[in-house]
Symmetry: C2
Subunit: 331 residues, 2 copies
DNA sequence: TTGAAAGCGCTAACAA
DNA sequence: TTGTTAGCGCTTTCAA
């Protein structure tokens, strides 16, 4: 193994000089710098991460707790993770992936000084991890927006605004009775923050626009079709659909397109999903993108800024934007 | 921060005793052990990971390079990662997630002693990362099976056997002309190992069984339907379908079910995908599960055994198994 | 502009 | 069965 001492010797300087060349924390003459950098390259030196963290009391690693369990939106999770890892590298950080989504894992990583900070996904309002995080000395950022005290900075998509946006769009297309085809029943039941916020925005916007809106949980499988049938049977006048359920989307969209073709009136669908998912669904031109990768990147930026003492903890919600044109299915 | 010295003092022993209590590397009297463990609990001591890795020359971290780019099978990747992380914890390891899928990232992690070993996903035959890994002092395991020298241990699903199994099943159901609806054209074109192996098994099995088999690349989107149309138009006598393309599966299955209902003859579909994906697709009871989580776990076991000097590097292929009953769509 | 040296918290000889 | 102590490779203060 190549150590800093080897580099120092090869360059004919002291160990501290090598260290300072790397950190840039003190002025170095042009000549020495070149000699040291040369030696580093020639020997292929990489400072030992453990030694570094021991001496500097920081690891350049961020712990990320991602929900690997099922029931979550795989694409979205993947994209957020991608955003986190990619952005972290830009700031010089690596990502330690913590699986088991319990508070213990967070504590372990923090107390063993394996990480400088923690990024936690999929947090619910009464999540015990929030207390754990609050008690830790390490800074942390939540990806999501639990209700409540809000003692920890959060980054998320503005689901509430997305609800408004979808309604505005559907109303603009002339629809007067709208349905939100949403998350699976289990997600709705545990009042997951984003599902609640989306429904709240949707319903408030309906009321503000003077149209009728209803919210329908929907399983993420082929059974989703049953939900559509039930909604349509329950109120045949519903012509505006807002679909937020990646697993169900292809089925729901297919069924709605079919209904639109055979039915008495034109239907419109607005989907809420990552861009690439929207593109893979036929008959779906109108969608609100969940900027999953951007969320991951934004959360990472925030934690890095906090680590650099450059920012105060805040809540940050990324605004929704409409993509494509209306997919009104005409008769 | 609580250090080992604090624990030693609290327990009235030397720091080496505390260290040995934790590692179990030497005999400790019952009494001392209890005192030390008590102190550890009371003080909430976790040994500093950096200090530990500096002194012991091992990190208890495994680097995992996962393909976070698109074009890959998100569910499968997620499940493999889940398997890796979960199993790693059982062996006492944590996972450092390396994103950018270049050789540099692997070298960096290894040379900076951030990891004890590397797990690399989605490796292709002429992948430059293989040379890098071979040149490293750290052990590594590939998740996948690149052709060629095979200097590094591999763990993967036995796609070739899966091809045989699917054909056997379809032939047993009475089909005589079979089609493999496979990976996207770009994946096929770069001769990705698994796609090649699957096709090889499929075609060999067809020949062995004396039936006609053809292989068709297929985009992972709604355009997949066009592929189905083209295949059926090209040879209307094809009645046995083997589908391996998660993105296209719902569309292909839906179209085939429809064709089976309206067409002249019964069709059968065998899908190759994770179990839960199979369950979410309607009209699809027959599938071969890609044991993605098990692959991740197996790869982790292998690398841990290698680290423990308990196993020699080998190639390990997990066998396929058929799930459910035939979804023969009768007229 | 540079060097010497004191730790950082732990493991693992070596000693008792 | 336990303690003492020499590092592990780096950062950073203190001195020059």
């Amino acid at each position: 193994m190549v150590t800093i001492a080897d580099v120092a010797q090869a360059a004919g300087v002291s160990i501290s000089t090598v260290s300072y060349v790397m950190s840039g924390k003190r002025a170095i003459s042009q000549e020495t710098r070149v000699r040291v950098e040369h030696a580093i390259d020639k020997l292929g030196f990489s400072p030992h991460a453990g030694a570094r963290s021991l001496a500097s009391r920081s690891t350049n690693v961020i712990g990320l707790q991602a929900p690997l369990r099922s029931g979550v939106d795989v694409h979205v999770v993947m994209q957020i993770v991608t955003g986190v890892v990619t952005q972290a590298r830009k700031h010089g950080y690596d990502i330690l992936l913590l699986a088991s989504d319990d508070a213990k894992a967070l504590e372990r990583a923090a107390r063993a000084s394996m990480v400088d900070a923690l990024l936690v996904m999929d947090v619910e309002s009464d999540d015990p991890r929030i207390d754990t995080l609050t008690g830790l000395e390490h800074p942390s950022v939540l990806i999501g927006l639990p209700a409540g005290r809000r003692a920890i900075p959060c980054v998320d998509f503005d689901f509430e605004a997305a609800g408004w946006l979808a309604v505005d769009r559907l109303v603009a297309l002339g629809h007067r009775r709208l349905a939100l085809i949403g998350s699976p029943p289990e997600v709705m039941a545990r009042h997951t923050s984003y599902a609640d916020r989306l429904a709240r925005g949707f319903l408030a916007a309906c009321e503000a626009s003077g149209v009728v809106g209803t919210v329908h949980p929907c399983p993420s499988s082929a059974d989703a079709i049953d939900t559509v049938e039930a909604v349509v049977a329950g109120d045949p006048a519903i012509t505006g659909f807002f679909v937020h359920n990646e697993g169900a989307l292809p089925h729901v969209a297919a069924r709605l397109v079919e209904l639109g073709r055979t039915g008495a009136q034109p239907l419109s669908i607005v989907a809420l999903c990552p861009d690439d998912v929207a593109r893979s669904v036929p008959g779906l031109a109108d969608s609100i993108a969940v900027p999953a990768e951007a969320i991951g990147a934004a959360a990472t930026d925030m934690i890095c800024e906090i680590l650099a003492k450059a920012a105060k903890p805040t809540v940050r919600l990324l605004p929704p934007a409409l993509t494509g044109n209306a997919s009104t299915t005409r008769k």
